[in-house]
């Protein structure tokens, strides 16, 4: 979806009067799109809130079974990528092509690191039978409460899965931006697509900023 939001070319499109109006419109459109994303994840945050408040102990236990180091590592990786992204946008604002491409490249690399760690972590879950389904089992949780533990992991996979999907889309956008920058399509005056890609990337980062404490850090002191 988002890739359409910045599909304008350098030329001023016919429906606009000025370049400023065009940029303004594109940015506003992206922000509204991000709000729809907030509501999209909001539905899952709601489900999470309801079940966590219903089954606090099981959620603490289930959360403690996830490896906190992967989560923390990935959080830092994503923050780094946001940092490089903002520097890429800054480079574009200043019209520095090489800087922009280098930082976009770094962002892409960090994004892929994040996805790699995520994939590895999921692989472990499959190994440990922590994937919801008939084979699910979480050690340390009584048989009657396995279902509730499974709910936690259902939410874990749904939330991190959709987040990862957004990361993949983001990576695609960054690659496109690198290519367009390489082709010299942007100038210091016109770099709206990069700006908007940046917004999207930071938004995905923000979602993770919330997912990390909610999924990895539920009452760690109790789970031990």
């Amino acid at each position: 979806m988002a890739s359409e939001a910045h599909a304008e070319t350098l030329a001023l499109r016919e429906q606009f009067d000025t370049a400023a109006q065009q940029k303004d419109v594109a940015t506003l459109g992206m922000w509204i799109f991000l709000i729809t994303e907030v509501m999209f994840f909001g539905g899952m945050f709601l489900a999470y809130t309801v079940y966590r408040s219903s089954y606090p102990n099981v959620f603490a236990r289930a959360s403690s079974s996830i490896n906190v180091y992967y989560g923390a590592l990935n959080t830092v990786v994503l923050i780094c990528s946001s940092f490089t992204m903002v520097l890429a946008v800054r480079g574009a604002q200043l019209g520095k092509r090489i800087t922009t491409i280098v930082f976009l490249g770094l962002t892409l690399f960090l994004g892929l690191v994040f996805l790699g760690v995520k994939a590895f972590e999921w692989g472990e879950k499959f190994h440990e039978h922590h994937v919801p389904g008939p084979g699910f089992h979480l050690a340390g949780v009584p048989p009657g409460l396995q279902g509730q533990a499974q709910l936690f992991f259902s939410l874990y996979f749904a939330m991190t899965g959709l987040h990862a999907l957004h990361m993949v889309v983001g990576a695609g956008l960054v690659i496109t931006m690198m290519w367009l920058t390489y082709k010299g399509r942007f100038t210091a005056e016109y770099m709206t697509p990069i700006d908007i890609t940046g917004l999207y990337w930071h938004f995905v980062d923000i979602i993770w900023i919330f997912l990390f404490p909610l999924l990895y850090l539920v009452d760690r002191h109790m789970g031990k």
């Binding site: 089954y55 102990n57 009584p142 048989p143 009657g144 409460l145 279902g147 509730q148």
Partner: protein
């Protein structure tokens, strides 16, 4: 073709209340509908266009008018809200002396149990003039227990209990419908409610082929599942005694207190580790899949029959003050 009924029977203590409220709402609705229709007709004819060059004078928006026609409907609506909510409040508070009936919904039938042990399918026999309280759950999807003549309806949700109650006021035979879409034969998940004179009801109870009361069945189940091996009545077993449990406040291991009601006992049987009684170990296995929903309610009745908590014996103060009509 059948007759042309225009108004449903009134056969419970709620029905007149709901109908009176309906009359009020109807009056408001008819007043506004007729008023707006007539005004439109009048204006449309009075101010019809007479020439193509006609240009009506601009009429300024009247602030007072706008406020008046916002505030008056709001006032009328608040009456509706308060009135409706008070009926709803009564519908949510069954009196303590109500006859308990247990309902299990299942695709596509209603299974009902009396505490005396009678079981019925798609039929319910109840005496006139006594409040009846239904505790309901579902084995599969969401159903909804709907008796139009009583003006009551409540969803029956898998995994938990819901409650509804009514006092039948007129003997007769009334429709029972499932009102929440539940699959292929949703429209055949219907039955009859038989409201009987108290004496007839007593005869019916006695004449049935019940194999002992629900508490008895529950006790048998209790024994066959070997629950008594741990739950000693004297409280010296590995598990808490169940005597006097029902309706009491239970102190849990996490410091919280819960009231031992139907939902609590159901959860304790199916998910025993969810709430651990203070001073005991979480050793009880789950009985999920071993006991049917009907079995669970029999066990609940058995626990109930083991006595109520200390004085006041009959009811908690809150239940005594419950409106009972």
């Amino acid at each position: 073709m059948g007759p042309l009924p225009l108004f449903p029977q009134e056969a419970s203590s709620f029905a007149p209340d709901v109908d009176h409220l309906l009359y009020y709402l109807l009056a408001v609705a008819v007043f506004f509908t007729v008023g707006i229709f007539l005004t439109i007709f009048y204006f449309a004819i009075r101010y019809r266009r007479r020439s193509d060059k006609e240009l009506p004078r601009f009429v300024h928006t009247g602030m007072t008018l706008e406020i008046v026609w916002s505030v008056i409907p709001f006032g009328l609506a608040m009456v509706m809200f308060t009135w409706g909510a008070s009926i709803f409040f009564n519908e949510g508070r069954p009196p303590a002396d109500a006859i308990p009936i247990y309902v299990v919904g299942k695709q596509w039938m209603w299974k009902l149990q009396h505490i005396e042990g009678q079981r019925e399918i798609d039929e319910l026999h109840i005496p006139v003039g006594r409040p009846v309280r239904l505790t309901m759950t579902s084995e599969d999807v969401i159903h909804s227990f709907y008796v139009p003549a009583f003006r009551t309806k409540e969803d029956v949700v898998p995994g938990r209990y819901s409650t509804t109650w009514f006092t039948p006021t007129k003997p007769g035979k009334y429709h029972l419908f499932c009102a929440e879409y539940c699959g292929t034969n949703h429209s055949r998940m219907i039955g009859w409610i038989y409201v009987m004179q108290p004496q007839d009801y007593q005869n019916w109870l006695n004449g049935g082929s019940a194999s002992g009361s629900m508490a008895d069945s529950g006790q048998k189940l209790f024994q066959s599942l070997a629950c008594g091996n741990c739950h000693h009545p004297d409280g010296r077993g590995r598990c808490p005694s169940l005597v006097g449990l029902y309706g009491s406040d239970v102190l849990l291991s996490n410091g919280a207190t819960v009231k031992a009601d139907d939902s609590y006992i159901r959860e304790s049987i199916l998910q025993p580790d969810a709430q651990i009684v203070a001073g005991y170990q979480p050793i009880m296995p789950t009985f999920q899949g071993l006991v049917t929903e009907e079995g669970v309610v029999q066990l609940i009745e058995y626990v109930k029959s083991l006595g109520k908590p200390g004085p006041p014996v009959t009811a908690t103060p809150q239940q005594v003050t419950a409106p009972h009509r």
